[in-house]
Subunit: 299 residues, 2 copies
Amino acid sequence: MSEHRRQAVLQAARELGYRPNAVARSLVEGRTHLVGALVADLHNPFYAEFLDGLQESLHGDGLRMLIGNSQWDPAFEDEAVEAFLELRVDGLVLLGIAPTSETLIEATSYTPTVVVGERDIELEGVDIVVDDDQLGARLAIDHLVDHGHKRIAHIEGPRSSRCEGYLVAMRRHSLAPYIMVEAAESTEEDGRQAALALLSREPRPTAIFAANDVVALGVLSAAAELGLKVPDDLSVVGYDNTHLAASHHISLTSVDQPRRTMGRSAAALLSDRIGDPAKVARLRQVTPELIVRRSTGPV
Amino acid sequence: MSEHRRQAVLQAARELGYRPNAVARSLVEGRTHLVGALVADLHNPFYAEFLDGLQESLHGDGLRMLIGNSQWDPAFEDEAVEAFLELRVDGLVLLGIAPTSETLIEATSYTPTVVVGERDIELEGVDIVVDDDQLGARLAIDHLVDHGHKRIAHIEGPRSSRCEGYLVAMRRHSLAPYIMVEAAESTEEDGRQAALALLSREPRPTAIFAANDVVALGVLSAAAELGLKVPDDLSVVGYDNTHLAASHHISLTSVDQPRRTMGRSAAALLSDRIGDPAKVARLRQVTPELIVRRSTGPV
DNA sequence: CGCGGGGGAGACACATGTCAGGACCACCCG
DNA sequence: CGGGTGGTCCTGACATGTGTCTCCCCCGCG
């Protein structure tokens, strides 16, 4: 169509205040250009930044992002996914949610899906984005060993691969005899309890590698209670590099996951799969990085 | 229709794997049962919790929530709202975003809208939800005065009504001569700078009321640098009661906004306005609460 | 025989994308 | 000058999946 006509039509549209109706368009096109992102916990800053990267990239592909919030409740997960499916989203992103319920598994067979932050999903045509947290653990341990630490303890969280990474790294440094592990939920209080347990052992660990920053915060609390100075008496490393860790007042050495990059990877995988749903499942593993701050030092 | 038929139809639907198509339904009904929530900053934990409350209540009214993320960029705001309008959302929630651009103002005239966290919007048919931050400031000052403080300084943030509340409260206690104010952006570093400026005055303030928790964190940093003990040498009060403040390791006295409640209020207002768009604009003001922790004490 | 309720069938509308068909004009070539 | 060619533009038909409405049939009951 000629440029002249084109401008005339756009002009008329503007004068009439016409706005295309995405609902009708979706109906006839058979696709909505919508992607549903289901998040286990909106408060987790990891997800917030991930979503920034995701939205940014999806936008480039002409896709819009819907956010659903399951608040860790499987019933909400199913409901939110059901809602997405009724809306006929073109794709799904599952954040911190493993597709285990029947509804979710069925959904992944209908709809292109990417899972983020969960390993060991073996579903046909479901892509995965995770950080290499064995490597992350190794970075943390290497850093502590460089500072002369030997008695390095670990507080294990929900991601067992981090613990494995810790064990592997300790053995690589021939520190197997010094391995100490406590388990904890991802709360500050649980981290504090676990740290108190570790710090009451004889001989005391000189460093603690926590499964994540919140737990590490609990370690800092425990250290303060016991009158231990950080990093002089105890070095602490967290994981996730949340803004808690970055705060000048806390200044926690932490392993950083490239969150925006992960969001962009997920977007790329999903766009690709929307284009061709038959592709085989792919695993995209991103490399974490150690951010050194003032909570670690020489023995 | 008879119960028998009804069950037979539902059964058949299940067997065929039928799922109603929300797109087609929206087209014919002329409403989508979708609400667009436009957020200035997903990382702000205030918004995250607000959204929890919002979604919870909207769900009860059969409405679904879409989240858009403007990242403080007016261009993104317009774009996201345009997307919502094309999708024919039934309502809009603006979080930390004042409708000043032409696109946004126009949108509010088409679509039922609630603005959260911004005062002084005078648009026809736009409801507002805010906390009473003059009261919040008063709670903070009263608490400090109860502890015998007189030289109470304030670090002003973007919400000027908090500063007004501080001024009013100080005068009410006849502490007008002790009024000290510094302005700062909402960052830890800016808070630190402002605190350093305040703490270098003679005589030094014995308490600082910060415009929000992030700024208060900067105050704590500054105090540590100057060798001042909190709360012995300096009391600090924040605003927003983020999880930063709640952390055992920081333990910051802070003014709490009932975030979930605000979310629920916004949902109620919006549902109501969707039902009857002609209603006059309403202002819903919620009452904040002081959460006392270990960053405040007697002079 | 009339009446009322359950159930089925069909038309219409929603706003758009896609496609086919045809009118019209300008241009080129023989 | 006539016919063919190609581009522009308009028109109309059809499809998407659902809610609403009307019409009609059939059966049971009084």
